[in-house]
Symmetry: C2
Subunit: 368 residues, 2 copies
DNA sequence: CGCCGGGAGTTTATCGATTCAACGCCGCGC
DNA sequence: GCGCGGCGTTGAATCGATAAACTCCCGGCG
């Protein structure tokens, strides 16, 4: 039989240390000592207090605690989209790091909406979180700097900080796109389509840079070797539409498609299937992110894997160690995972690692 | 040029109402009035105070605020697995409902680990959250009842409450499984495989009940028409292994597979592909959850859709309206989405709705 | 015998915002 | 000329936990 609600007790107020002290026949100071410095209290007294706590169902009031002692156990994180597996994996990494120090994560999703992001920043600031992790949307760096000026350390997620005052953790998307293109060139492809998203997103800009740069390095003229296709949304339908567009075009057809993320690649695969184009024989496909289902498709998708869990873990770690005053800016190198969509006989080849750890100047005005 | 950190200001303490009051030349009471009851303050005074707030970069201290006034703006949610798209969608629904009332969501992931769950429950209780949403793991109902006894309303997510004291929101999995089986029977299948997970999970138990019940209703003997396959993990690899097992068995081969969730269905599809069994011609496949990628597979997957967003939204709504004292227990009916994996010529047919809204007894000991 | 030290526990100031009783002041009405 | 109502503001008490300062008591030592 389950614990039952006190029938009709009509409890209004949660018990406080005062109530516990009264019941145990000691002072509030002693109760506080039992909770925070148990060794300073005589055994018998401690037992009485613990019994009283148990009997009343006393729970510490985190607000009062925090107000008085300044000890804060909460970290805030504002992610672009909580429904995107990329960010969920990051959140997992953050959580795992925070659990080590018995801290809690307050998660929020801005949906790329600056108003929502600003609202969450305000709420987190009011709650006096110990630190803040954020995937900045366009132009919100100033707001984040303002938060840090108020004494709350901030670390950027999936975004290299443009200023030395902010810590950051990111993945080198230029290199990532380069890995994908190099792989396709090695497979013999000489004319490659690139399905890219809006250039207001940093990721799209960087990945395009990597594509163009790599082609040039291999002595190819991007104007000839590259067919660029733009989509507004980074989802599957947009990818399918882009591919329909590509197949309708006159001139020599590319033999490979590189997609800015896995969702668009999914749409491209679907469209190719509908058009009866075999993958990878007549058209190779490479995605980006390596989300969980990329390996589970009927044609497993070659993709550029980002160390999502590590990304979150590291961001939280930098934040927690930021008391030292040196904001770190870390950039990871992505790994190419070759699967059947680009190679009939794929072979696993991890190429993973820390590219660079750059230490910026110390954070001005940091409490010590 | 971005807002810069006050070079070397060495700020230690955040400004308080007292600081604002001093700068504006008024008392703290007036500052508080400006913040909370601006109409009671004369225009000129109000302007001076607002200017002082702006100049100091004053941010309200949520702890002090909450301590004194008891007003709480945070809701806690403990989900089974934050990396599972099913729960992420639920979180989105919760967030959307909370945004209406300007509340914040504190999200945590228990990973089916009772210790982790207990730890989060304690933390949330200490923070004095306004309410708690939780997907209970095995046997944690008592702990949740204890939390509610302490004055924090609780609503169960994806789980019908076994006691009338707790609100709950769930999906009727018996009916959901029934929809899937009925569909397969209508397609002419008379021998069906069922890939199910561990019976310690409520979902697995209920879905099996639905399968058996539906077969019986159609005059079939489950012992003959049903081939049961068990897996330990609800992921793709387990699904693939289960299918390999099935194809090795002697006797008449089933013509359809119903999977307890979409991930296992994904594995089944992959294994069928490897064995050269055409879908749906020689083997139809139906999944459960209708996660986002189910429709994007090269063979789109028929699946039982759960109203995930609505689930979260409704749970939050019940929680917020629970002040009235009547915990609601809502059960939604799932919808079958027919796609190519079970029907060569699928047709969209939404069948969606609220099955039942049952009102339990009033919550004992509720503050009024 | 008087003083010191230290263990055990109590008292009290404090954190920052809120709230409410009280107060000063002004103008209106009798 | 006096009182009264009410607006705008003030000052102090308050929320619950914490920690520093303090009291008390007892044993040991010079």
């Amino acid at each position: 039989m389950p614990t039952q609600t006190d029938a009709g007790a009509g409890r209004v107020r949660r018990p406080s240390v005062t109530d516990v002290a009264r019941l145990a026949g000691v002072s509030v100071g002693t109760v506080s000592n039992v909770l925070n410095r148990p060794d300073r209290v005589a055994g018998a007294t401690r037992e009485r207090v613990l019994a009283a706590i148990e009997e009343l169902g006393f729970v510490r009031n985190a607000s009062a605690r925090q107000l008085r002692s300044g000890e804060i156990t909460t970290i805030g994180a504002v992610l672009l989209d909580i429904a995107n597996p990329f960010f969920t994996e990051i959140a997992r990494g953050i959580e795992d790091r925070l659990a080590v120090d018995d801290l809690t994560l307050m998660l929020a999703s801005s949906d790329e909406n600056p108003d929502r992001e600003a609202r969450y920043l305000r709420l987190f600031a009011e709650h006096g979180v110990r630190g803040l992790l954020a995937t900045p949307s366009h132009g919100s760096i100033d707001a984040l700097l303002a938060v840090q000026d108020k004494g709350i350390p901030v670390v950027l997620l999936d975004h290299v900080s443009p200023v030395p005052e902010l810590g950051s953790v990111a993945v080198d998307d230029v290199t990532g796109a380069g890995l994908a293109i190099t792989h396709l060139l090695e497979q013999g492809h000489r004319r490659i389509a690139f399905v890219n998203g809006p250039m207001t997103l940093r990721q799209c800009v960087d990945r395009r840079d990597g594509v163009v740069q790599t082609l040039t390095e291999h002595g190819l003229d991007p104007a000839e070797a590259l067919v660029e296709l733009g989509v507004d949304n980074l989802n599957a339908d947009a990818g399918a539409a882009a591919l329909d567009d590509l197949l309708d075009r006159p001139g020599p057809r590319p033999t490979a498609v590189f997609c800015v993320n896995d969702l668009t690649a999914l749409g491209v695969l679907r469209a190719l299937r509908e058009h009866g184009v075999p993958v990878p024989e007549e058209m190779a496909v490479v995605g980006y992110d390596d989300v969980s289902f990329a390996s589970m498709l009927t044609t497993p998708l070659t993709s550029v894997r980002q160390p999502m869990h590590t990304l979150g873990w590291t961001a939280a770690d930098i934040l927690l160690r930021s008391g030292a005053g040196e904001p770190e800016q870390v950039v990871f190198t992505p790994e190419l995972v070759v699967r059947a969509s680009s190679d009939p006989a794929p072979e696993a080849r991890p190429r993973f690692g820390l590219a660079a750890t750059r230490r910026g100047g110390r954070i001005a005005g940091w409490p010590r």
